[in-house]
């Protein structure tokens, strides 16, 4: 054998080693990826179980405004001393994840870093929670106070035919110096998922529209701004938070409640009172358990201040990040304040 033949044989042996190693690594890669996805899935399910079934500690942390540092366990389940339902969440706990609270009082908001500690995630995982209504309800103004309501499914935007719609408008009446409600309007969506709710003409820009959509047991309450003189407030337990520049002089507050009655639903209001704790913070004497929104009038009488318990909240450990290409997502249908929502949990690894 010549030296070239030895070299040639050595090259062949090395090539075989290289080729077989590459082949083994390449072949095992897909199953490794599947396995890693599977782990993410189980971790996501574990976190979902903790978040949805545990009320947290303290159990009423949603309306405990001093809790931020004392929160020991994180969970969004609604706490009750007697009976409990699965996947029923406390609206106040969900609203504590709304970053809009940062503009009012930083201590009200539960920052993602705190959640990471409470869920023992360390720097290993990233997490995002997305609450979205189970039905997509939108309004389109067709006249002075005539609205076309559209009810669509969340997936694919298919029209929901035959959904029962109950609506009532609340507005500030200057003559009586009171917040008053219109007559209740009940309608049903037609084949395009649309229906009309007509309140005639209300000569006020301080008005909101409360809509309840019910479709084979799925219920959703939406609060729409119908005028221009409106200020959004935030209700957390017995406390009403509003921008510090806004003042409320009147001590009455109107709580909008939704109740089931024979053959449908009713949207009613009960009157309660509130007192000022400090600038931008007011305490209600009593909050009805089925309250879906509150209304009160600003000191100058020029704005209607409203809050709603709608939970359109997105909460992520990555600020402003809306695409999670390597995330695993788990979805559950939950009830928040009597309305049905889909909760998606996105989980991804920070490092591999």
């Amino acid at each position: 054998m010549h030296i070239y033949e030895y070299l040639f044989t050595a090259i062949i042996i090395l090539s075989m080693l290289f080729a077989s190693s590459t082949m083994i690594t390449t072949l095992s890669e897909p199953s490794r990826n599947v396995s890693e996805r599977e782990q993410l899935k189980i971790t996501a399910q574990k976190l979902m179980a903790q978040i949805l079934l545990d009320p947290g500690d303290p159990a009423d942390w949603g309306n405990d405004l001093t809790v931020e540092g004392n929160l020991k366990t994180f969970g969004l389940a609604k706490h009750s001393e007697t009976t409990r339902d699965a996947y029923v969440l406390d609206p106040y706990k969900v609203l504590r994840l709304n970053d809009a609270l940062l503009q009012l009082d930083r201590s009200l908001y539960i920052p993602p870093s705190r959640l990471r500690d409470l869920l023992n995630l360390g720097n290993e995982y990233g997490l995002a929670l997305e609450f979205s209504p189970a039905l997509v309800v939108s309004i389109d103004k067709k006249g002075s106070d005539r609205y076309e309501l559209t009810v669509m499914s969340e997936y694919g935007g298919l029209p929901i035919v035959g959904a029962n719609v109950t609506a009532r408008m609340y507005y500030y009446d200057v003559d009586s110096n009171n917040v008053v409600g219109t007559d209740l309007i009940v309608n049903e969506t037609e084949y395009r998922g649309k229906c009309i709710v007509d309140f005639g003409s209300i000569p006020s820009e301080m008005k909101i529209l409360i809509v309840l959509v019910e479709y084979y047991g799925m219920r959703l309450v939406r609060v729409f701004s119908a005028g221009s003189n409106l200020i959004r407030a935030h209700l957390l337990g017995d406390f009403l938070f509003v921008d510090k520049t806004c003042t409320i002089s009147r001590d009455e507050v109107y709580e909008i409640i939704v109740s089931k009655r024979f053959g449908g639903y009713s949207i009613e209001n009960v009157e309660s009172s509130l007192s000022k704790i400090e600038d931008g913070r007011f305490r209600l004497t009593y909050v009805e358990p089925s309250t879906v929104a509150t209304l009160t009038v600003s000191q100058d009488g020029g704005n209607l201040i409203f809050s709603s318990l709608e939970a359109n909240v997105t909460y992520s450990m990555i600020a402003g990040k809306w695409s999670f290409p390597f995330a695993y997502s788990v979805e559950r249908t939950v009830t928040i304040g009597g309305s049905l929502y889909n909760l998606r949990l996105y989980l991804w690894r920070m490092s591999w």
């Binding site: 054998m1 030296i3 030895y6 044989t9 050595a10 042996i13 090395l14 075989m16 080693l17 077989s20 190693s21 083994i24 690594t25 095992s28 199953s31 490794r32 396995s35 890693e36 599977e38 782990q39 189980i42 971790t43 399910q45 574990k46 976190l47 179980a49 903790q50 079934l53 545990d54 500690d57 020991k72 366990t73 994180f74 009750s80 001393e81 007697t82 009976t83 409990r84 699965a86 500690d117 409470l118 869920l119 023992n120 995630l121 360390g122 290993e124």
Partner: protein
């Protein structure tokens, strides 16, 4: 018969290369095998942690005012692997509780899964440093032998939880076995 020295050197070099290639190949395959085993152990740890979280929530969810007894769930774990399952309290190191799995005799082949409760101040107390037996209501022939470490072989591995009162829920891992067995 005279053999040139270059042939001797070349043959020895080739044989060495073949041996080295074989060793390198087995090193690569064993590395991949370890990675696969780690993935398996990771899945097992995640599965145990998931069931532990679910059983704790289930017991707490019951909201009983009187003692509801111990609840348990038998885990469906692979039996073709020799491994240990441990419940570890690392709250002293700021890591909370986690489930740790390890291949028998191979400390380097291990995995862990967090339990999303990062405090020993919570009402949930995981049994990480004691052993004992627990009875389950309605079952006289078998008991739960709880321990912070169990062998994840062919035996029935269980997760269990017991709500002592409103302020304390005990939970852990163990084996579901016949009394005296």
């Amino acid at each position: 018969m005279d053999v040139p020295i270059s042939h001797v050197v070349g043959t020895i070099a080739l044989i060495s290369l073949v041996v080295a290639a074989g060793v390198a190949y087995s090193l690569i395959t064993s590395y991949i095998e370890v990675e696969v085993r780690k993935q398996q152990l990771n899945q097992i740890a995640e599965y145990v942690a998931l069931n532990l979280v679910e059983i704790v929530n289930l017991v707490n969810f019951a909201n009983f005012s009187s003692d509801p007894g111990t609840m348990m769930r038998i885990l469906n774990l692979p039996s073709n692997l020799a491994y240990l399952i441990m419940l570890v309290d690392a709250s002293g190191q700021g890591q909370g509780y986690y489930v740790y799995t390890q291949l028998m005799g191979r400390e380097d082949v291990s995995a862990r899964s967090l339990i999303p409760l990062n405090s020993t101040q919570t009402p949930v107390i995981f049994v990480v440093d004691s052993k004992g037996f627990l009875r389950v209501r309605g079952e006289d022939s078998k008991v739960i032998q709880y321990s912070s470490t169990v062998y994840g072989g062919a035996q029935d591995v269980v997760v269990w939880a017991w709500k002592k009162d409103d302020t304390a829920t005990w939970a852990g891992i163990g084996l579901w076995k016949s009394q005296g067995g």
